[in-house]
């Protein structure tokens, strides 16, 4: 007797070929795969606004004077800004912005106080990560209103005339990455993640339950496939479908919505693979848990809702309560949004998006382990 191999590439290939043929013949599903991205693109062309507070802010203090501190205090009391870091250089702050660890960088230039007292209207610099305009818009607006009165207590006596002038100093705002604050720039790339989450999870979610419902599982099991052969065999063909969707949305982003593409498309296309696999793996895991196709669809929605609500797609991530952020951190979509916005709008390289990639990778691993554990080799 020849021992049963743990994993046979030949049998995996048999599964892949079979799934490919079935996919090709299933016109309705295939049409849905193409139709959903197009419809979503139309629907989400507009922005969804909200008013997040306590946004992570770093400060570069080149001038440690009471005036500077008073201004920072005023900024803090607005409620929109949380000073989480003090950086030592412009470069360090820029890096934090690029990695998305902070939303704002406030720079108090050297000689700020001196120039202020001389009435030279020094510049206070606020750099904002404006990839998601909804997240920064209100914060920036509040700042403009607040700064006029910030120094009223400091500027008294001989300096009182400074407080009454239009503005004792100038607030200069540098919106980075999306200077015009166009929401489509943020929505359209995000949509790619949303569409992939919805369709990829659904399609593999049906994969094993369908075999059970149609009775074909009995025959399949009698041919003794290993769990991984079945699971991977059902995932592989749909990676291709995922890429078709990605290309559709990228084309629309470029030519319909004029989204700028700063970073490397090749890098993006390579990284998208991890995200597609993550969603297919979630689906296949649901498929091993659900008893029938209806349950699988319900589970898909159960996964889809938090993904769309808590990932930073619908509402700015930093505007969400802490517990919601914790949930969001688990979801692949959250990390993918950071990747795609980072690469497309900020020109992030592999180094900057790596933390997001491995977190999705970890998610895949956990999903596959659960799927293999839950996969039943008998009909019981």
């Amino acid at each position: 007797m020849t021992p049963l191999p743990v994993f046979s590439p030949a049998r995996l290939w048999a599964m892949v070929v079979k799934e490919f043929i079935q996919m090709r013949r299933d016109r309705l599903t295939f049409g849905m795969m193409i139709g959903i991205p197009l419809i979503q693109l139309m629907l989400f062309g507009f922005a969804i606004n909200s008013d997040p507070k306590h946004l992570a802010t770093a400060v570069l203090m080149a001038d440690r004077t009471p005036h500077a501190r008073t201004i920072l205090q005023a900024i803090r009391t607005s409620g929109y800004f949380d000073f989480v870091r003090e950086v030592q250089s412009e470069g360090e702050g820029g890096e934090l912005l690029a990695r998305g660890e902070i939303q704002f960088l406030v720079t108090v230039p050297s000689g700020f106080s001196r120039e202020l007292l001389r009435g030279e209207r020094p510049v206070l610099l606020l750099e904002a990560d404006a990839t998601d305009p909804a997240a920064t818009g209100n914060a920036v607006a509040s700042l403009k209103a607040l700064l006029g009165s910030a120094l009223q207590h400091e500027l008294q006596g001989p300096f009182a005339h400074l407080a009454t002038t239009a503005e004792p100093f100038e607030l200069r705002i540098h919106p980075r990455y999306n200077p015009e604050g166009i929401t489509q720039y943020n929505i359209v790339p995000g949509l790619m993640g949303v569409v992939l989450t919805m369709t990829m999870v659904m399609i593999t979610g049906l994969a094993i339950t369908r075999e059970r419902e149609r009775g074909t599982m009995e025959n399949l099991l009698s041919m003794v496939p290993r769990p991984l052969e079945v699971l991977i065999g059902k995932i592989v063909p749909y990676i291709l479908v995922g890429y078709v969707q990605v290309c559709l949305i990228l084309l629309a982003a470029r030519f319909v919505f004029n989204v700028p593409m700063v970073g490397s498309l090749v890098l993006l296309l390579a990284v998208v693979m991890v995200f597609i696999i993550a969603n297919l793996a979630v689906g296949i895991t649901f498929s091993t848990i659900a008893r029938n196709q209806l349950q699988a669809v319900q589970m898909t929605f159960f996964f889809f809702l938090p993904s769309i609500l808590l990932s930073g797609f619908m509402f700015p991530f930093r505007g969400m309560p802490r517990w919601a952020q914790y949930i969001g951190e688990v979801l692949p979509l959250t990390h993918f949004l950071r990747i795609i916005r980072g690469v497309l709008l900020k020109g992030n390289g592999l180094g900057e998006i790596w933390p997001q990639i491995w977190q999705i990778g970890l998610f895949v691993l956990v999903a596959v382990v659960i799927a293999v554990k839950r996969y039943r080799r008998t009909l019981d």
Binding site: K18, G215, M217, E218, M223, T378
Partner: protein
């Protein structure tokens, strides 16, 4: 393969939610034997066959199938068994040829293309090779399923109502083929509701409410009466016993 017995199991038992579907069945089949598996609907035939090839985990019982332990080596058994399911379980959205090809690949059959072509030829399906399985008539589906489960040249055939819905001529051809295979040393356990088919088996096993009521040759069982009469009587008697 060890021993002369292809199937040798004792006390095979299966419950579904506390309801006994198969109750402590002992069964032995010699190699090359054709055993007819009879019994009214719901008597546990399908459940028993599924346990033999490891698709259902028995709640009790032990034994061997083709020399492999039925509990521990069920996957090894499945590789050597041709199991034809009662319900058509091939892919309706694949063509006949694609279905056979899939099976051949799953068993890593050497000379896959030739084996598939030969099997199509033998079952008279060559002309319909590119027809979707789902578009076939009931009888043709059965023939496809049969061709597929024999593709990897198994030592033991477990056929669950293989001729249900098949026309008389095709049924006779089928039974001729079964005898041919048995002559070559292949063991066949075949469930059926047709008494003329039961007549053509070496041995019969009759199940009712999960119990094996009779086991013997058709002549032993029928005596002067017809098989049909005997089984209807058996069914009625056991139904009375089990009525609350």
């Amino acid at each position: 393969m060890s021993g002369e017995l292809a199937i040798d199991v004792k006390g095979m038992t299966k419950q579904f939610d506390g309801v006994i579907a198969v109750n402590a069945i002992d069964l032995q089949l010699r190699r090359g034997e054709i055993c007819g598996f009879l019994g009214p609907n719901g008597s546990g035939k399908t459940t028993f066959i599924r346990m033999l090839c490891g698709l259902l985990r028995p709640d009790g019982g032990s034994g061997s199938c083709l020399g492999f332990d039925v509990i521990r080596e069920s996957e090894a058994i499945r590789k050597e068994v041709g199991y034809m399911t009662q319900r058509f379980s091939f892919y309706e959205d694949l063509t006949i040829a694609e279905n056979l090809d899939f099976v051949a690949r799953m068993f890593s059959l050497p000379g896959r293309k030739a084996a598939v072509a030969e099997s199509l030829e033998q079952l008279g399906l060559a002309g319909r090779r590119n027809q979707l399985a789902g578009e076939l008539s009931g009888g043709w589906k059965q023939r496809l399923a049969l061709a597929a489960c024999m593709l990897h040249r198994p030592q033991l055939l477990l056929l669950d109502e293989p001729t249900a819905g098949v026309d008389p001529k095709a049924r006779r051809d089928f039974w001729d083929r079964i005898h041919e295979l048995a002559g070559a040393g292949i063991t066949v356990l075949v469930s059926t509701h047709y008494m003329d088919e039961a007549r053509r088996c070496h041995n019969l096993a009759y199940l009712s409410y999960g119990n094996l009521l009779v086991h013997g040759t058709p002549d032993e069982i029928a005596g002067d009466a017809t098989l049909e009469e005997v089984f209807i009587r058996l069914t009625e008697a056991s139904t009375d016993n089990y009525q609350p």
